[in-house]
């Protein structure tokens, strides 16, 4: 499997640990499905932990944007945690780095909601 997603609850924040490749196909679809499921359950505080993401392409970036928009339109917040250099560079190149609230420490990210 190219992607692995694990959801856990820390207080009222849903943390999604993402590992593997967020690319067109299985990876981006799995992330999309998880985000939709969480919005469907009316989750308002979602933290995507991307620390173990080895690869992301433009489709994966698109799913991050889509998730952000969907969660925000639902009155919630979507934040990012543990961006590696590759993901960070991509978000900076595409001018999306300042759109997301990005954190390097989980505890601080949780407190920021």
């Amino acid at each position: 499997m190219s992607i692995k997603l694990n959801t856990r609850q820390v207080g009222d924040v849903s943390v999604v640990d993402v590992a593997g490749r967020i690319t067109l196909g299985e990876g981006s679809s799995a992330l999309r499905d998880t985000m939709r499921e969480m919005v469907g359950k009316n989750q308002k505080k979602i933290l995507l932990n991307l620390g173990d993401v080895s690869y992301i392409d433009s489709s994966g970036i698109g799913e991050l944007v889509s998730g952000f928009t969907t969660v925000t339109n639902n009155g919630g917040q979507l934040k990012l945690l543990n961006l590696n250099k590759r993901v960070k560079d991509l978000l900076q190149i595409t001018k999306l780095y300042t759109v997301f609230d990005v954190h390097e420490d989980e505890a601080a990210a949780i407190r920021s909601f």
């Binding site: 392409d57 489709s59 698109g62 952000f68 928009t69 991509l90 190149i93």
Partner: protein, 146 residues
């Protein structure tokens, strides 16, 4: 400065099925050759991503996953540059009118960043309509700084 550790020119051409598996194959082939040509890790990452985005465009937007259409994929290098050509058999598109993904009105779009990323990662990027139909893109990365 990138050093060309492999002086011998190398060229490979493949006709790929219009599937996502072909995207992986093309990326692997290109990165392997780029590594032999002497590119460092950062450039290998950029080349891999540019090739992936290009082949995805050919498979998804050009050939629309058609089992009857192939993606012509060639990758090669000589002493000074690394070149990838990807051609689809699609209807073609107006690549002069692509929206700017960095424009404020497009920042939150969920697609449309592929070609922008290719241009960002490669030294040269060209697109052309093929006389027989379809679109061909050419990606170039120089082995020695120009």
């Amino acid at each position: 400065m990138r050093e060309n550790k492999q002086q011998l020119p190398e060229t490979v051409e493949r006709f790929l099925d219009s599937t996502l598996d072909s995207v992986d194959s093309a990326e692997e082939l290109a990165v392997g050759m780029a590594q032999r040509a002497g590119f460092g890790e950062d450039d290998l990452t950029r080349i891999g991503m540019a090739v992936r985005e290009s082949v995805v465009n050919a498979v998804v937007h050009g050939n629309r996953y058609s089992a009857h259409k192939k993606v012509r994929f060639s990758v090669g290098h000589n002493s000074h540059k690394f070149t990838v050509c990807i051609a689809d058999e699609g209807e073609g598109f107006d690549f002069e009118s692509l929206p700017d993904p960095l424009a404020p009105e497009n920042i939150m779009c969920t697609s449309g960043r592929g070609i922008f990323l290719i241009r960002s990662f490669m030294d040269e990027f060209q697109m052309r309509h093929l006389d027989m139909g379809g679109t061909e893109v050419t990606l170039v990365k120089y082995l020695v700084s120009k």
